[in-house]
């Protein structure tokens, strides 16, 4: 693996292997001193052209727990404000000796573009409406580890609720969940579905009430008001009536069902119930798992070749 730009770059076997590596990282994270020397001497630059709390801090924490050096770049406090181009920015950082870039940008395809300007590894930390591969990995990790089948989601039904159209999380998750065998239902008003979901192996439903009683995972998306063209939006009242998670609806979740959300939560919009009062909520577990999964991604990119084969003996 040279870069992680899209979930489609990974086969199901590679995803399963990455999640197994994340188990190793989770063990490290459970220790009193959660730090190993694996990436000593490597420099990882987090280059964010768009706001982020958890993704940036999660990647930076992951890098530090593997003993890598972290370089932090924010567009808002950089020479981008003096007119420096993206390409010059990347080439400048590359000249400082960066081994991996973690890139977020509001435009789809920017991380792929960045690979042409540097020899370093590039990780997509979210590009426009396109992809957010590490979010899909950490969600797959959370689901598989909760249900105890590490290699498959066969037989599981996952409803993704909300603004699918503007969601890179939805695109990445639909790809990973369906390829791992889950049945995925998209729950959204027509205006918030992508114009074409042809080729997506999904069904749709037009209200949360249709699905809430019989899903294994209820995956709530954030209402992305900053990406929204106002004319698209049905009235907020109409949206919350049909698509928000209320206390009554949460009570109808099956006892084993998981409630997930990529964050940040819009309380009072898509989440009208306090998630800490929903027994199946794994929202904070997703955050913790994010560090383990990102450690696995960074280690796979910078830590050398990984062999899945178990050999007996002959080792130094």
């Amino acid at each position: 693996m040279n870069h992680l730009l899209s979930t489609r770059d990974l086969s199901v076997d590679e995803i399963v292997q990455l999640l197994e590596l994340a188990d190793h990282m989770a063990e490290i994270n459970s220790r009193a001193v959660p730090k190993v020397p694996a990436l000593r001497g490597k420099t990882i630059a987090s280059v964010f052209f768009e706001d982020s709390t958890r993704t940036r801090l999660s990647f930076e924490t992951a890098a530090k727990r593997l003993s890598a050096e972290v370089m932090t770049f924010s567009a808002s406090t950089s020479s981008v404000n003096k007119g420096e181009s993206l390409r010059d920015t990347i080439e400048t950082l590359t000249a400082m000796g960066v081994h991996a870039f973690v890139v977020r940008h509001k435009s789809s395809g920017v991380p792929k573009q960045v690979t042409q300007w540097t020899n370093a590894a590039v990780v997509n930390a979210g590009d426009g409406w396109h992809q957010h591969p590490t979010q899909a990995m950490l969600d797959a990790y959370t689901i598989t580890r909760n249900f105890g089948d590490k290699e498959s989601m066969a037989g599981r039904t996952i409803a993704i609720v909300g603004d699918i159209k503007h969601s890179r999380v939805a695109r990445s998750n639909v790809d990973v969940f369906t390829r791992m065998g889950a049945t995925v239902v998209l729950v959204a008003p027509d205006a918030l579905l992508p114009s074409s979901i042809e080729g997506w192996n999904v069904t749709t439903a037009s209200s949360i009430d249709e699905v809430v009683g019989h899903v294994d995972v209820l995956y709530m998306l954030r209402m992305q008001r900053e990406r929204m063209d106002e004319s698209l939006v049905i009235s907020m009242k109409e949206y919350t009536d049909l698509y928000a998670l209320t206390q009554d609806r949460a009570a109808r979740l099956a006892p084993h069902a998981l409630l997930m959300h990529p964050g940040p939560i819009n309380r009072g919009v898509e989440m009208q119930v306090d998630p800490s009062e929903v027994p199946g909520s794994r929202i904070l577990q997703q955050v913790a798992n994010g560090i383990s999964v990102r450690m696995a991604v960074l280690f796979s990119l910078l830590g050398g070749e990984i062999s899945p084969a178990i050999t007996l003996g002959g080792d130094a």
Binding site: G303, S307, D315
Partner: protein, 181 residues
């Protein structure tokens, strides 16, 4: 023009491996009079089955003892990532705080000593042991670090390029000879 002739020789039979494990179990009990302070830790993946058998052996010698058994994965501590692929094994599982314990670290083959160095560093992240002793089924020489074993199943002089395989069914050396055709 050089050709490669591999040949595989049995050095220890299955029964010899059993005897070596029994002998090392006795040596461990002999050397450690406080068995309640002992922890046996196998190195993933080659050392874990030997560690399990040593723990069983110690229990047979002193049935009143309860020696914890752990496993350590050193993938994240290696200094040669670029040279050899990482082998994904089971994660580390150290059931107790190692501080003030005597750890018997177990591996199948002692060679350059680099994986043992990595394991010592890994153990330190689980506490500060009072002492660490090293048990290996085979010491094949070629040390690159100042590391020596405390318990050895069998010393086997080897060529650097030889391959050794250790399992419950025996110990085998595969000699890769480079000759002239």
């Amino acid at each position: 023009m050089s050709i490669v002739i591999p040949s595989r020789t049995e050095i220890l039979a299955s029964a010899d491996v059993d005897r070596a494990i029994k002998r090392i179990s006795h040596e461990i009990v002999e050397r450690n009079n406080q068995l309640d302070q002992l922890v046996i830790v196998g190195m993933q993946t080659g050392g874990t089955w030997i560690a399990e058998r040593l723990a069983t052996g110690v229990k047979q010698i002193d049935p009143s003892s309860t020696v914890p058994l752990g496993a350590v994965d050193i993938s994240m501590y290696r200094d040669d990532f670029s040279l050899r692929p990482i082998v994904l094994s089971a994660p580390t599982d150290i059931p107790v705080d190692l501080t003030e314990k005597t750890v018997v670290l177990v591996d199948d083959v002692l060679f350059t000593g680099r994986t043992v160095r990595a394991a010592l560093e890994a153990l330190n992240d689980h506490g500060r042991p009072r002492a660490v002793q090293l048990a290996v089924m085979v010491d094949r020489g070629h040390r690159e670090l100042p590391i020596r074993p405390d318990y050895v199943g069998k010393n086997i002089p080897t060529h650097f390029s030889d391959e050794i395989s250790v399992g419950p069914d025996g110990v085998f050396v595969t000699v890769v000879e480079k000759g002239q055709a």
